[in-house]
């Protein structure tokens, strides 16, 4: 064997050792990085698990939370729609304003005559409209909940009840009196589901009713009177060519709005 052949020379040995050491350090580095990533992933899963479950449709432990998040967007949209359209989802007798069909709450087709009230039970009407709008969605949400739990091996017993939407001070509450019993290893029982929307529609509707009363008795309503009483309220009145008035009530703090039309004592 010649020198350096088949046998490592001194230089080669040193280089080799250095190479091996570097290689080992690189491996260690990689292992450390992998370890950090595993720990980070673990922490992520630990803190984000409920949301991950919901996002990935893994299934939620809490049916109440599931139903709330399921109906939330529809309730918000329905509330917004009725607010801009004078209280109805599909207005029948309306005037177009700003691309919205704004329903008449008080109307006469004649001139120099006081209007006839077209919607006397406004609060109940709005509650009914929102409820009818979300009806199908609620059923669909409970069906999805059922599928999810049954996939996970739960015994899902649902007794349907009434659906109710209420306008209350500073909030809109949707309540579903459904009775749910979940059984797997233990039994969980839920007797009611609800969703609370932060909205001043109750207050705005009360003001609207007062304005309608003024329109039918006097032919007009004084906007500054309401703004003087309620600092957070903005009342605008827009007059159309045929004498129709569009009233726009806005909560200055939250931006909630309710608008409707009236035609009374048109000149």
């Amino acid at each position: 064997m010649k020198s350096g052949e088949g046998k490592l020379g001194k230089k080669d040995a040193v280089a080799s050792t250095i190479f091996l050491k570097k290689n080992r350090r690189g491996q260690v580095t990689i292992f450390i990085i992998i370890a950090i990533m595993i720990v980070a992933l673990g922490l992520l899963v630990y803190f984000m698990y409920p949301k991950l479950k919901t996002t990935l449709g893994i299934g939620t432990k809490d049916p109440v939370g599931y139903i709330q998040s399921c109906v939330e967007d529809d309730i918000k949209e329905a509330t917004e729609t009725v607010s801009l359209q004078g209280g109805s989802i599909s207005p029948e007798h309306y005037i177009l304003y700003d691309d919205a069909k704004v329903e008449y709450l008080c109307y006469t087709n004649e001139y120099y005559k006081l209007c006839t009230v077209q919607q006397a039970m406004l609060k109940q009407h709005i509650e009914s409209e929102i409820k009818n709008k979300i009806n199908q969605k609620v059923d669909s949400c409970f069906n999805s909940l059922k599928e999810d739990y049954e996939k996970r091996g739960y015994n899902f017993q649902l007794k349907t009840g009434t659906k109710k939407v209420e306008l209350l001070p500073k909030r809109v509450i949707a309540t579903f009196d459904y009775s749910l019993t979940l059984t797997k290893e233990n039994t969980e029982k839920y007797t009611s589901f609800n969703f609370i929307l932060d909205n001043n529609l109750y207050e705005l509707v009360a003001i609207a009713e007062s304005i309608v009363e003024s329109e039918t008795l006097q032919g007009d309503a004084e906007t500054t009177l309401y703004m003087a009483y309620y600092p957070d309220l903005k009342v605008e009145k827009k007059i159309k060519e045929d004498g129709t008035k569009i009233y726009i009530l806005t909560d200055r703090n939250k931006g909630n709005k309710f608008q409707f039309a009236s035609r009374s004592n048109a000149f």
């Binding site: 087709n109 009230v117 006397a120 903005k234």
Partner: protein, 520 residues
């Protein structure tokens, strides 16, 4: 040629009645009462049966005479309010209770004073109970108070104090009323009327802070303590004042003008133009994050306010959309009421076609404006200047020396110059009303004027082919006469030769006066 005063009035009213019809755009006699129209409106008088929804009642009479469209009162038994002028079907659609009686005749619709906590509301008894259940508080209903202002004034502010109690072996405190303190169910409760929770002698764990907050239903900025109770109204000079943190006191730092944007005082007043709000960039306070926000419309830069001045919160004033420099009441123009509230100016149009005008009053140093009807309709029926200019009853102007001429048959003959046996002038609208002039001429026909100019020429002048000389009414050949007639015409409405509200000329301006002089 003579005229009869009484006949003239009758004919004048006839013409203006027709003008009213043109203005309304509909025939005044409505034949069918539709329980519901095809457009979805309830209880409307329509000109044709075909306008009615066939699934509902319809009859050829006025709606008041029908059973289905008789107006009554709709009672909302849940909320306790009563809506007048409501048809039965409309009421019962959403489970309301309908009565054919007027609202004032129904016992359940009588208003009384409802006291809910420290607030008052002038509502029905049912509404009062409803409010109590909604807010979870006991209510008191007084039927002897029949006036809303009196009711609001009767609202008592229950005296508050420090409600000291023990929680987790710590002596703590809540600022509340005596009743709320007693009903709280807290342990070892003591109520100290008029004291703040930070009073040293109470020995609680609540201490003064330099923080402030707004309180619901109150205008002012308040100090808060470490237990999140409110203290007295924010006064930076008293932040370290032990006495100011001991007992509830009235503020003494007020400038009586709402303390707008004050660094040091939180005694805001909504009616003076300020209210507690979070401070924004550019606003600063000595302590805390809340300030008496100035609610005046300081950023408003309309031409109706001089440089440097601006409308105050609550002020209203009149404006028109006529281009600057133009006269008022031009075609297309309207009157507007401008409203300043909460730092924002909103615009309200009084009415279309100037059927309403805006009037304003600044005599108390505070602008108040309102829209009211343009009372021009009975101007034409006035034949003397005193009646014509009666401001309380009408908005008219008296034009001297010309009158509306009617011949013996009662036919309108235009505007003519007054003489000893005719009216001395004419009464016309002060604020010319608008109209859809592109559809009809209407009232403008009254502005037509004819002037007969008598010419004379002798035989010699005729042989000499000299021109005719006017000997009578020669003033009608002058521009001044034409302008006068045009002024009268313009006062009637969107008539005559004029520009519109943006300064654009009418397309018939050159045809104001047509003169037909005799041939030479």
């Amino acid at each position: 040629m003579h005229f009869k005063m009484a006949e003239k009035k009758i004919y004048a009213f006839c013409i203006f009645f027709m003008f009213l019809i043109f203005l309304t755009g509909i025939v005044s006699a409505a034949f069918f009462c539709c329980e519901k129209t095809k457009g979805g409106a309830w209880c409307q008088s329509m000109g044709s049966e075909s306008d009615c929804d066939p699934n509902y009642g319809r009859v050829q009479t006025s709606c008041d005479a029908t059973s289905y469209c008789r107006l009554g009162t709709c009672i909302n038994q849940q909320e306790g309010n009563c809506m007048p002028n409501t048809p039965q079907k409309v009421c019962e659609e959403d489970r309301g209770f309908w009565s054919d009686k007027k609202r004032d005749d129904l016992p359940q619709c009588q208003l009384g004073c409802c006291l809910i906590g420290e607030q008052a509301a002038f509502v029905t008894h049912v509404a009062c109970n409803r409010l109590g259940s909604l807010y979870g508080t006991n209510v008191s209903y007084r039927t002897n108070i029949k006036d809303e202002l009196q009711c609001l004034a009767s609202a008592t502010s229950y005296e508050k104090g420090a409600c000291v109690y023990e929680e987790d072996y710590v002596r703590t405190c809540k600022l509340t009323t005596q009743k709320a303190c007693q009903d709280s169910g807290l342990s070892k409760v003591e109520f100290h009327k008029g004291y703040l929770c930070t009073a040293v002698e109470l020995g609680t764990n609540c201490a003064p802070t330099e923080k402030t907050k707004c309180v619901e239903n109150k205008d002012e900025v308040y100090f808060i303590d470490t237990c999140n109770n409110i203290g007295n109204v924010y006064d930076s000079s008293k932040v370290k004042d032990v006495a100011y943190w001991t007992k509830i006191q009235e503020p003494t730092c007020s400038d009586n003008a709402g303390n707008k944007n004050s660094r040091s005082c939180g005694d805001c007043d909504y009616y003076a133009g300020s209210i507690c709000k979070g401070k924004k960039i550019g606003e600063s306070t000595d302590y805390g994050d809340y300030i008496c926000k100035n609610l005046d419309c300081t950023e408003y830069k309309g031409a109706d306010f001089d440089l440097g001045s601006y409308p105050r919160h609550g002020e209203t004033w009149c404006a028109t959309d006529t281009k600057s420099g133009q006269a008022n009441n031009l075609p297309g123009s309207s009157y507007y009421r401008m409203v300043c509230y909460n730092g924002e100016v909103t615009i309200e149009q009084c009415d279309v076609f100037r059927q309403k005008i805006c009037i304003e009053n600044n005599s108390l140093g505070f602008g108040i404006a309102n829209c009211r009807p343009n009372l021009y309709l009975d101007c034409f029926g006035q034949n003397n200047s005193d009646d014509c200019l009666l401001r309380e009853e009408r908005d008219c102007q008296w034009i001297k020396d010309y009158y509306f001429y009617y011949d013996a048959a009662g036919t309108f003959g235009g505007i003519q110059k007054s003489n000893s046996s005719s009216p001395a002038g004419m009464c016309v609208p002060l604020n010319a009303p608008g109209m859809a002039f592109w559809n009809e001429g209407g009232i403008c026909v009254l502005g037509s004027a004819q002037c007969i100019v008598k010419y004379e020429r002798g035989l010699i002048d005729k042989w000499g082919k000299k021109p005719w000389k006017p000997i009578e009414n020669k003033e009608c050949l002058e521009a001044a006469w034409a302008n006068k007639m045009n002024d009268i015409c313009m006062s009637l409405g969107d008539c005559g030769s004029k520009v519109n509200y943006i300064g654009q000329e009418g397309y018939k301006n050159k045809d104001v006066v047509k003169t037909q002089a005799p041939e030479v």
